[in-house]
Symmetry: C2
Subunit: 458 residues, 2 copies
Amino acid sequence: MFEAFRAIEDLKPVLGDRLVTSGAVREHHSHDTSRLPPSMPDAVAFPESEGDVQAIVRTCAAYGVPVVPFGVGSSMEGHTIPIQGGISVSTRHMNRILEVKPEDFLAVVEPGVTRKQLNVALRDTGLMFSVDPGPDASLGGMASTRGSGTTAVRYGTMRENVIGLRVVTPDGTAIRTGSRARKSSTGYDLTHLFVGAEGTLGIITELTVRLHPIPEEVSSAICAFPNIRNAVEAVIATIQYGIPVARVEFLDEVAIGGVNNYSRLDLKVAPTLFFEFHGTKAWVGEQAQVAEEICLENGGTGFRWSTDAAERARLWQARHDILWATKAIRPGCDLYTGDICVPISRLAESIVAAREDIDASPLTGQIIGHVGDGNYHTAYLIDPNNPDELAEAERLADRLVERALAVGGTASGEHGIGIGKLKFMRREHGEAVDVMKRIKAALDPAGIMNPGKMGQAG
Amino acid sequence: MFEAFRAIEDLKPVLGDRLVTSGAVREHHSHDTSRLPPSMPDAVAFPESEGDVQAIVRTCAAYGVPVVPFGVGSSMEGHTIPIQGGISVSTRHMNRILEVKPEDFLAVVEPGVTRKQLNVALRDTGLMFSVDPGPDASLGGMASTRGSGTTAVRYGTMRENVIGLRVVTPDGTAIRTGSRARKSSTGYDLTHLFVGAEGTLGIITELTVRLHPIPEEVSSAICAFPNIRNAVEAVIATIQYGIPVARVEFLDEVAIGGVNNYSRLDLKVAPTLFFEFHGTKAWVGEQAQVAEEICLENGGTGFRWSTDAAERARLWQARHDILWATKAIRPGCDLYTGDICVPISRLAESIVAAREDIDASPLTGQIIGHVGDGNYHTAYLIDPNNPDELAEAERLADRLVERALAVGGTASGEHGIGIGKLKFMRREHGEAVDVMKRIKAALDPAGIMNPGKMGQAG
């Protein structure tokens, strides 16, 4: 489009080789990990400073050209696909760790810093950045999708772990949100407005994130259950007892069977919980013992636990190998992934229904869950070249969301809305969607920030 | 004003005796606990349902009449003072506990429910609502000021403990924010936008709040320190060790001296920490022992701890009696209260400077703090009829805020902006204030919701 051409011409002298229009680079920024149709940006910018980002946004604002932030491209619902073209803004080169303040339990980073990179830098501090979504995502991307993962049950999601931001708003102004204080009662909570906004309200140029002490000791445990309900009730009882479970993951029978084959394990093929406890030596032992009692009361069998690193790795091997084990169930398949979160009181019935749906379908599928949060994922194994299988997976994933919404849950626990789940926004949020649209229109009247996504469509 | 008269006439047939114009009732809603000048509302409404609230807001919107939400009136910075008249909306009769879901660790309440009322209702569930700002405030008010208190270091503030809301927005629409899921990646985070908005974006008509297990055991401890810095460093080290302190309160020498006199205690007159630990029997013992070692390493003396209820009450008596003890230092005085929060690495120097300011002033004053959060309060003892003393207290409180902002802190840890701290909004938030104003203008274009406060002035 002509406006994009003019914006690119204007930006070339400012950005130099930090602005790229080659086909290969544009192609790389045309898709994410979803099966949503790719769409090419007109150019990809690689800013190295907040000033670069401001120049890009101001120029695009002047010409009404879309601006689409891009982290590492690990999003799963099309968030970073430039469906209206424009300029993809990669944060890859804004990857400096600006400050680590151990006494304040915080770090200040640029948005392209990845979670692994940050944890390597923290090694000598005794602290860790806790949020672990699986891939080595950028912190800017994780904030924008309100990401989480296995440790959220104990340490929270990006919602709890981002305490302040710098953001370039759609008119090119750079603002700071939050403060370095652990709490504050001043002003509208803009930090939480930008966390989860999926790049539709501005571009994050700096994050202040919360750090947690690395536990002195870790204990891991595993336990099989006669059925899904018993497993979930054991989780609820453990939390009610006051045990601060650090991780509690669920694998259903199909997942366990897959891992037994792939990793040559001999786990009982049954709904299984994987626990992790953090604390002092005495405390992690006590946590595991309390959890064992609760699991046995709820019909659990074969409870094993350990604080030994090698043994812990062995206990959790099934959980760690799950991605590859699942793909190996049907060589060459793609995984179509569902992601919902329900109140934990409705979790057992929700998983049972999801399991029944899969069993009644021609597709194979399995279920794994961050069950302490009520969040779980279905994975449907499909032939990527078979449109019927894709349609069937979509049908199953939609039914999953519809049931979640019917019990007070949410259409996405951690993957986000992107393009794929826009259709559920009004069903989940009702008239609150109009309030979101008013906020989007107020902050981005020209609609240049990641257009066609949250705040506009849906 | 004539518009208010017309709004009242229109609302009379709708609300009946739930709309009051008597002088005594209007006077009661003309002030809060601050020394800010009172201002009378034209009427006070006592809605009993969300429908009532919608009727009030729609009528006021039609005439451009201010709407000022009111909980129990315990705010400390003028939040509920109707400085432009209009209708005070008391949530006093919206005080039903609608649902308690122990398995989901949540309760659904109307905004007039107070924290003590909720905890009484939770008695048989083994769960508690953790946020404790001191007075028996309404949950709607606590949410609107993003309140917290002594337990925030462990269980979070209202920011972490409100998981969803119903809100009547300034055009009279009722929306729902959040869901019952523990986490979600769908949509702008409207819950956190309304939490802390001080009634300027809508009226909260329902809250879904998070509950926590009542700990099996509680241990309390007390320790004196040679100076403020050592006390703060002991707190930092305790948290770095991974001890999940449930409460850690600081009293300075003046506060300890006052309590010794008032409560006939013989505490060492020194900076003193009061700890509380929650957990299993073994775990609270271990927490206290680790804290003791750390306190001794940091120069602490006289460390005592106990799990016995009577002994715990005795250890914490000084902290519990502090309000009355302080007032007794100068009979007939008023307490002018400061409230800031700083990064904990800057807490010691901040308290020392606040102490030096008081010592150099003709006023007496003391300092108490929720030090695990970096939040503390100064209390200046003033003669309420002496304008010079009020001016001096204001000067001290302003200096306190200015120093907090200079080190990356915030103008208010938990009391909020109200009227009293509007002057610091731009200094703290810079150009982010313009984003807040754009949001306010988008959601409340006529400016009827608690006008002249956050989002408009400052």
